[in-house]
Symmetry: C2
Subunit: 714 residues, 2 copies
């Protein structure tokens, strides 16, 4: 599907793409309805300050500029080529640009993978040429790119709308969404640093762009719409660095379309892009510290808050409002989004009592009463902002008879400038509140129409702050007997994927330091007796035979055996019954293993995602989990903290924490097993599937035991 070629190939220098000193517009046109006209026109209209070279073999002059008949004819080398010519001739043209010394290219043209097999071939050529000349290529099949920085004022897209300058970068895998969002941003007065249409991502993809934006001093927040990720692991790496950078953290908000099976189907017919399972995308975003959203409106609502306000230190919010009802709604919404209502200090309440009318509510939400004007808002906000228990402020205004909306907005702006805690405004309504909203916008105070959206924005900032301040951990490398595992796996050279015999699986788990209960493989009655004594009672016995799938059903499993005699007898019975029920089955022996004491059952698993590689799974054992699909996924390798998060994020977590007076489970041991599993599957790519079901977990400090497990190899 051409995506292999598109996997990131190391750092690419994108300066020539975003800040070119000269641009060749190849396929520039004089027909006003042509994209080749729009690109040239938009570049000029936005005020691009560098040199522009229109190229069109049939035209001599365009928009008052000389038009070159070919790239060769251009008198100097140029930094960036913007290409708008039929797809069939794009590769050849790219090569000419490469020869001419172009440092980057944007292929606007459609007609590639999205239309036909021939198109897909053309795409592969594009990718090859990009590699050959070390020339990063954006697109094809894209809207183009905008650098809205006043330094550049560069609209290299066919959108006539040039957004205002700002500190938000937006990247999109849908060109049409770009035009809608530019129109939306114009209406909502949202500014951008860079605006990038990714198109078919044949060369440059989201990872390359993020690497650039990470270093871009003009970008503080990244918003993105994607339909697939080209390289999940590389995405995690760069996004994690960006979102978690303590000096210069940049939040990333993302919409990944195709969340549902039907959406994914729609996406497939749309771009033919490879779709990983959506749960894996959840995992990737969680590991990358990216906030995943479902709605464009929400993404921008949150983006604006991130772009303009400092992060809250913690989650305690004060609400200042001139109306009770909206104060309650905001309180509800705050709690819903993980925030808490700040307990105001006694001194704060005393100070408020002095400046507010007697009917005002001095507790949080602070109700300054319907007739409040800017002076009362000012006094209340000043007092509240100084309370050490307040980590963020929501100021609500309803337009009432006495409300001097513009003046109150001035006050909000002023307090926002004075305080280093986030302040977010909710000016309820549309028409009457406009004069105030304008003031807020001009002064970069995030504002919303209703309490729900307001609290949601602050809640997202708190979530991100939690990510920022998380303890940093590493991927642990346990000392393991890798050679022992390798040896076992090598023996198993099968033509087809197959399940490892259980004693081999246990040996591998042992080699990788999992808590495996004592076991042995008996080949005859006497050995059964002997091994049973060695491993200690009670024991479980299980037939080992690749031909017997439902071991329990054919009588191949026996539990709670308590003496060597019983063990010997059971050995004979098992072999006999299996032989009679599955004649011809090759019996390797009978596994004898100490039985685990009762504990809480959890499941650990691994599958190799065809696109993103080894993916770990964690969940509770039992039918509830099956019914509720209550499991977490993460891409391997995982860090210590990631392992702990996998456990915490299941809904049934309270059961592991202990209910009805039970002690907590041994979380540390579960996390360690997940980390060891991560190491096992990363170091042994032949392993295609692992299922530890159950891992029996005991109370904190008492460890765990692998009770049953399956390893499948390729």
């Amino acid at each position: 599907m051409g995506s292999k070629a598109a996997v990131s190939k190391g750092q690419k220098k994108l300066n020539a793409l975003f800040e070119p000193e000269s641009i060749a517009v190849i396929g520039a046109s004089r027909r006003k309805e042509a994209v080749g006209f729009a690109i040239l026109h938009n570049l000029i209209a936005a005020g691009y300050k560098g040199k522009i070279y229109p190229v069109n073999p049939k035209v001599d002059e365009l928009e008052g500029m000389r038009c070159y008949h070919s790239v060769d004819e251009i008198p100097a080398a140029f930094d960036l080529a913007v290409i708008i010519i039929p797809s069939s001739v794009v590769p050849e043209m790219l090569r000419q640009c490469g020869e001419k010394g172009a440092q980057a290219a944007i292929v606007i043209s459609a007609g590639f993978r999205e239309v036909s097999k021939e198109g897909a071939k053309l795409e592969q050529e594009v990718s090859k040429i990009a590699d050959e000349y070390g020339m990063p290529v954006l697109g094809p099949n894209c809207l183009g790119m905008i650098n809205a920085s006043s330094k550049m004022s560069m609209n290299a897209s066919f959108s006539a709308t040039m957004p205002k300058e700002g500190n938000i970068a937006f990247l999109s895998q849908s060109g049409a969404l770009c035009t809608a969002i530019l129109d939306y941003a114009k209406g909502e007065n949202i500014g951008f640093s860079k605006f990038i249409s990714l198109g078919n991502k044949v060369d440059l993809n989201e990872v390359d762009i993020l690497r650039y934006l990470k270093e871009d001093p003009e970008t503080d927040v990244v918003l993105m719409y994607i339909e697939d990720l080209v390289d999940g692991r590389a995405f995690i790496d760069v996004a994690r660095e960006m979102t978690g950078d303590l000096e210069n953290g940049k939040p990333i908000l993302a919409i990944k379309a195709g969340r549902t099976a039907q959406g994914a189907k729609a996406a497939q017919s749309h771009t033919g892009s490879l779709m990983g399972s959506d749960k894996v995308y959840d995992a990737i975003f969680a590991q990358a510290g990216v906030l995943r959203l479902d709605s464009v409106a929400e993404m921008f609502d949150l983006g604006i808050a991130f772009a303009n306000e400092p992060l809250p230190k913690s989650n305690r919010v004060a609400i200042v409002t001139n109306a009770g009802g909206p104060g309650i709604m905001a309180t509800d919404a705050c709690v819903r989004y993980g925030l808490e209502m700040a307990e105001l200090e006694q001194t704060t309440r005393e100070a408020l009592a002095k400046v507010l009318p007697p009917t005002a509510n001095l507790n949080n939400p602070v109700d300054v009463i319907g007739d409040a004007q800017h002076d009362r808002y000012e006094q209340a906000l000043k007092i509240v902002a100084q309370d050490p228990n307040v980590d963020g402020i929501i100021v609500i205004l309803t337009p009432q008879a006495m409300t001097d909306i513009k003046e109150i907005a001035d006050v909000v702006v002023q307090i926002d400038k004075q305080t280093d805690i986030p302040l977010i405004a909710c000016f309820m309504g549309i028409v009457d509140v406009t004069p105030g909203v304008k003031v807020l916008e001009e002064n970069f105070v995030p504002h919303y129409r209703f309490p729900e959206e307001t609290a949601r924005a602050l809640g997202a900032m708190y979530r991100y702050q939690q990510w920022m301040k998380r303890p940093r951990t590493d991927v642990v490398h346990f000392k393991v007997e890798k050679d022992r595992a390798t040896k076992i796996l090598k023996q198993m050279k099968q033509p087809e994927p197959s399940v490892l015999p259980i004693h081999d699986a246990m040996a591998i788990f042992e080699a990788y330091g999992f808590p495996v209960l004592p076991y042995g493989l008996a080949h005859h009655e006497g050995e059964a007796r002997e091994i049973s004594q060695k491993v200690g009672f009670p024991i479980a016995m299980k037939i080992v035979s690749n031909q017997v799938v439902h071991k329990f059903d054919v009588g191949g499993v026996r539990l709670n055996i308590n003496s060597p005699e019983e063990a010997a007898k059971a050995y004979c019975e098992i072999v006999q019954i299996v032989s009679s029920k599955s004649p011809g089955a090759l019996i390797e022996g009978v596994l004898i293993q100490r039985m685990a004491q009762k504990g809480r059952e959890v499941i650990l698993g691994m599958n190799r995602d065809p696109h993103f590689g080894p993916t770990l799974m964690f969940g509770l054992g039992g039918i509830y989990v099956e019914a509720l699909k209550d499991v977490t996924f993460r891409l391997a390798p995982i860090r210590e903290l990631t392992a702990r998060h996998m456990i915490k994020m299941i809904r049934a977590y309270p059961i592991l924490k202990g209910i009805r007076g039970e002690k907590p489970a041994d979380f540390a041991k579960i996390a360690e097993c997940l980390e060891r599993l991560s190491q096992l599957v990363c170091e042994n790519p032949q392993i295609s599937e692992v299922d530890i079901n159950p891992l029996m977990v005991y109370e904190v400090g008492l460890g765990a035991a692998v009770v049953d497990a399956r390893i499948v190899i390729d």
Copy 2:
């Protein structure tokens, strides 16, 4: 708290409130900043066509009208009194209005329950006078009321904004929210039939208003913001009738603030209103067919769709879009909101192929491609609208270079008029799409900025349609031995609430037709032997003593007893060990009961909500439910369908449906038990609490058994 007096007292005639032929404005003022000025001014400015009588003892003329010095002085009887005078003199004035023959009153004045105990007393007087004169009173402490119908053009509120006429009624327990919403509606061009600020609800409450709106031909949809419900049962009754009326169903969308404990606390300090548990409100709304929402923006987004489009017949949606990405987003959102992507007929796809360019996607979402103009939209929409598999259409427009937005809007309007399936538009953006949005608005086509909100609206319509078309069931009255139950309950006259002895509880369940396993109470060894034979083995034995709380811990419970001899022996052992461990405990005997076979465990319960009465609970047994709080509530009495819904609505429902090849549980029997529980607690108000934990449920057709249970009486 004054709410008792406010409970609905039967149907009230509200015509004089909403359609008065004459209004006395009592407390009309010439001071422009006074509310008494605003009310009079707004009435005149909005163009109220009836007679207005300003009343103010100190003024002779107001706004060019004669001002009366007292109510007495008014030369005729008037229909409605709008009162804006200090709270202390409101009762006396109301009485004068009553004497004068006023048919209704709005008390705008604040200064009642919300400020002081004296205020609460004044409120009680207001309520008494309202009753005495049969004069419905809106408020006090409210913004007033607006009848925006062109027949009335009546703004009896102190909001200067008069909304345009429409078919949405809005009622609000927060006056300040009203002003914000009027401003929002002005910006979004939303029209109203009635706009009602409820205030302190001392006389008229949401139930009375709904009863009026139910019959109001100008209202098709009701939106409401409430902080409490005065009478949950009455609310269910009227709302259920409104929302479920097959001829003239009117959807109700509601925000109930104070959802979280902290929000409820904020609400309490705000209005001092009684707060039921939020779970109970969820139950009430579910039983009433009311869509509960958390956000004002969402409420209006959905309200507009309901107000202007027919309901979908089912949930199969077709999407017509000029952009792939937004099509995927819409697909995702549709699935998220319970919709399905329609499978288009072969003939539909063939017809589309004829009119769309070769690169267009003929499957759903139908992509008419970025360069589509109104003609292509028209052809595609016409074809899709005729497909019998399509129950609703979402049309998405992104503003691209060729897009003739206004003309496409004209097409959408025209198709919307031609088809009887709902059509909802998503014109993405703000500025460029405005000419189209204006056309849509003028022609009442619901439109949204982004796919998420669009699908959400259609999803809500489908949910409501499901409610409308549900089979209608009744509250079943089972033939039970009520007298037997009453006799047992009467014996138990305790000074304090107490737990019924288990055999009495079993007898009551038996009397009410629950599946009770054979049991008996043994008072000595011989009786134990005898009863054990009668009930059949295996049996469970349990000490019966009010003084022994943890019966299991002290050895007061024995299970799996299989013979009369064992039973006799167990009897002696139980009595002995309990006597030694709990000396002085009064032992009533030992309960002997057949043991239930293993099945799936569920829990049925009842608690009396202090505000709303008997509330039934259903959940699965076991620790998962405790950890996940996965239970449903409904107010008793419940109908057949409600009982079935209670079961279906738990998240663990798949377990009851059967996983891993298990057959479904006997849902009919569980539902019947819930209904019998409903009847039991409604007929026996002495019962304050019931817990059936567990009810063991067997496969479909095999019934259930009450294994353990607790009845608490008051």
